[in-house]
Symmetry: C2
Subunit: 195 residues, 2 copies
Amino acid sequence: MPAKRPPIPLSRERIIDAALHIADSQGLRRLTMRRLGDALQVEAMAIYHHLPRGKDALMDALAEHVTAVHVEPGGSWQESARAWCRASRAALREHPGVLALALTKPPKGRAASAIREQTEQLAEAGLADPAGAVRALRAYVFGAVAVEVQRSGWAEPSGDGDEPWRPPSRGGGSPEADADFELGLEALLAGLTGR
Amino acid sequence: MPAKRPPIPLSRERIIDAALHIADSQGLRRLTMRRLGDALQVEAMAIYHHLPRGKDALMDALAEHVTAVHVEPGGSWQESARAWCRASRAALREHPGVLALALTKPPKGRAASAIREQTEQLAEAGLADPAGAVRALRAYVFGAVAVEVQRSGWAEPSGDGDEPWRPPSRGGGSPEADADFELGLEALLAGLTGR
DNA sequence: ACCTGAACACCGTTCAAGT
DNA sequence: ACCTGAACACCGTTCAAGT
């Protein structure tokens, strides 16, 4: 007979991880408090103890998780911006299930501070309109990832249930898409200088 | 006493219009078959007669509605691309409630043909990689609208219920955002030539 | 402090039935 | 052909209760 399962204590982190897994493999529409509870070996109501605002809080947390990136401050502003954009793209691509949230919800918490941080780095480097530049960089990443994920055919029925969504970012994904991204990024950075 | 309401027959078009209104004013999460039925003075089950696949079909239809743009073919490829991007941006901004669907669902039906159409126009003009160009243009519009709508503060509680979301596109919206959009668009078009 | 059980109002969808 | 009513399985969330 199986030993009584050791009850790993629930935590905000474990909840978010499980939620990401469900959203990425089955879609946001199937991410349900009850299903999430099942995945965590817990009754759905237990989740409310860790996320008091319930499903809204969960959605906020998911958007924040996939959207709050941090990069080391060293180097020129171009290098900083490059690193930031690449990290953002990687994070968004890794979790197509919550992309709709990430592109749509206004940044809060750590996501908002990440934006402020990046804006300051560009300001310190003497860029004329750092806020506008960060806006343009975010828009570039958002658009690029949106068409990438659309083209990847994620979101379509896919037939079976728990297909383990393999992120294209393991090892860098399609080299063609990577090259396109880098090309457009360089063009944007060049355009940002003469503003 | 009020006269017996004249029963305007239900139709796919009326359903989609009502759904857009609900999504834009209350958010996608509150767009419900039952609420939609109420708005149409009909039991929810009547909707299934016009959209056999139910809510999935409705979501597809909404994404398609806001994403299938058509522009007249005349002029240079740059003019054609400009018109296409402006029309796309306008359509997406008009309905922030379904933006998440539009950015996320792979194009189908009229939306897919609109893309093919635009690709052909760029191909006929002799562009080297017309498909890649359309991809870049779509990404640009998607990203621009995503940060615009995020910044507009749509999606946040807003407190009250049936606030009649006023589209910023009546008359062109914020002139600053418009200028940014046009600037980035010209830069992208220039970049597309030397590919 | 952390989790459960029962309960409530509300979902999407089906199906037989009405007109 | 088009719509309704009743029914079913499933939601999110609350609250009192258990440990």
